[in-house]
Symmetry: C2
Subunit: 343 residues, 2 copies
DNA sequence: CGTTATCATGATAGCGCTATCAGCAAAGCA
DNA sequence: TGCTTTGCTGATAGCGCTATCATGATAACG
């Protein structure tokens, strides 16, 4: 009797004004408020102003969760990367974000820590949020994840590398990049070239580059020694790697590093060891980070167009979301060998 | 007559299985499925297994949007930073994400591009997604934004700097950091010290450090010339700034840079110009990025505990979300002067 | 002038989940 | 034995919005 069942009791949540309240304040129906906010052109100017006034006056903040449920659309773009410690992914994220935010999409950022099971969980979560599209760094997923991606009926963009993608693909050929650098070092006359990378099983793109490296050096009759670091690391790790490479392979005259951080760390450390670069030891990297171009000697590296990659990826996805066909499902952004003085 | 009104027509969206469908498959009610997934301990093991089986079999992916609407809770943490181009923010984001993801929260990343109106829009959007808490980099907001933050009844954490926060605050005193470095340079005997920064109106924390710098140098009877770059930039900009500072203030014997990127760019460029550091020109930075510690001479800088800042911030927010009281509403993480050989 | 298009707005019915309150069996207690 | 407590499950009623269809008013047309 005293349980006012009919009274719309405030169950939970805050006393934030709702669309309903705004409608009352503006003397229109809720749906008109919705239209005034989301499809302004469908509402007569005078009505619209009345609504916007009420919105302002009440401090109404639309509940996007409710809107998303009702329309089964959200303006989320899921972006999944293996790590935030690597500047390369940051740059791609940045350029994705620039492009997507401009179109009113919100990035949902996920970090797998190079763990495919974690990636699967992230994809589930993001699909649960009705994201509009997914962008993942890389082509390697576990079985369940690939299945989910293939069947989710949303644009799926795989960036960074080129290959057998689920849907859309923008990237470069890492194996070819490895070949390219190996060829360059051969041409420069280096004979004992060590490849240095970290956790090649997880950073498998560095592994692909090593494969390319071997594909060039082996036919040329050269050894292809590998120094694999057990953990990721930046400049510091590069310094250590230099010492390890020189100790383990005494005749080494060039080192092909898996990335610019390692390479630059090694280059700076070589100074401290009194080694001349490239006379005593040549050094090459991968990525083309600005850092490498500001040291002396400048780092020989391969420039990957990360900015372009992110932008193109975002543009393809947007095109799909807008119902326009994609121009190309697979897009090779290429790379550029930057021959510095370190080799 | 032929409009089967009663048939639950598939209005929109996909044919993804729903909780309802899973319930049918498992022979229980929907609410039991919900509990089996979200509060497993409330469901008998046998029932739970039956449910989980059905989930697996149907490939059910929970609709988090619906769940969030019903519970008016999401597991989103809004993180708002002014830029992704700056490594400092990246590191804070990274450490926030590490801590929050571990507790099952999802980061909603927003980038203001140093625009307070954009920040306001982001806050509105994030509140619309019923985020559980907001973390913003910095204390400066526009009127509307501050009002929204103050009245949203969610934990609001402002990181990076210390001061008059809306709610929670973890950071360091930038003005004091500026003073500290200025004192250091004075003690080392430098007499003509230029401060170099970029866009100090937007990067106002660098402006605060300049204020501290002046507070120390002016009473000591020194000039406090400023070189302000019109755009943000990394190493490249630092190189240019060095030349500008030397050209505009010929007697300069030390440069206090607003950050390590600029400082390191200048330091590397000094080599190329044939200037000795610190004999011809001393160089100091701010942040304590690894980079600065790997060049020769090592960069004198101020180490800001960014990792700690992010972690502490996340922990305070989590404590609040778990209903435990925060230990401290304002937390000074301090900083450390790292005296390298560049000064 | 009747007929059809177009415009502006509204009524209704969910979107897929969870909060809340109920119910009922088994267990604990005096 | 009757009573309360605990454990497990279910029925009901929304969360705050938008899709869909309907309506009345005005404009366009021959």
């Amino acid at each position: 009797m005293s349980k006012h069942r009919d009274a719309p009791r405030q169950r939970r949540g805050s006393a934030q004004p709702t669309l309903q309240r705004v409608a009352e304040a503006a003397g229109v129906s809720p749906i008109t408020v919705s239209r005034a906010l989301n499809n302004p052109e469908q509402v007569k100017e005078e009505t619209r102003n009345r609504v916007l006034d009420a919105v302002e006056r009440l401090g109404y903040v639309p509940n996007l969760v409710a809107g998303s449920l009702a329309s089964s659309r959200s303006r989320f773009i899921a972006v999944i990367v293996p790590s935030l410690a690597n500047a390369v992914f940051i740059e791609v994220i940045k350029s994705l974000q620039d492009t997507f935010e401009q179109q009113g999409y919100q990035i949902l950022l996920g970090n797998t820590d190079y763990d495919t099971d974690r990636e699967y969980q992230l994809v589930r979560t993001f699909l649960g949020w009705s994201c509009s599209a997914l962008v993942t760094a890389g082509l390697r997923h576990n079985e369940a994840c690939r299945h989910l991606l293939a069947n989710c009926e949303k644009p799926v963009m795989e960036v960074m590398e080129l290959g057998d993608a689920v849907d859309l693909n923008v990237g470069l050929d890492h194996r070819e990049a490895g070949r390219c650098m190996a060829r360059h070092l051969l041409e420069r006359g280096y004979r004992s070239i060590v490849y240095v990378g970290a956790c090649l099983d997880r950073d498998y793109r560095a592994g692909l580059r090593y494969s390319g490296h071997r594909e060039v050096l082996e036919p040329a009759g050269r050894d292809t020694p590998l120094v694999e670091l057990p953990t990721f690391g930046g400049l510091e790790a590069g310094a250590g790697a230099l010492e390890r490479a020189l100790a383990e392979y005494p005749g080494t005259d060039a080192i092909h590093f898996a990335n610019d951080d390692l390479a630059t760390g090694a280059l700076l450390h070589a100074h401290r060891l009194g080694k001349r670069v490239p006379e005593d030891i040549a050094i090459a990297g991968f990525n083309g980070l600005p850092l490498g171009q500001h040291v002396t000697p400048r780092l020989t590296t391969i420039l990957s167009p990360r900015e372009t990659m992110g932008r193109l990826a975002a543009e393809q996805v947007l095109r799909r979301l807008e119902g326009k066909g994609v121009t190309r499902r697979r897009q090779d952004v290429g790379f550029t060998l930057v021959a510095g003085e370190s080799s």
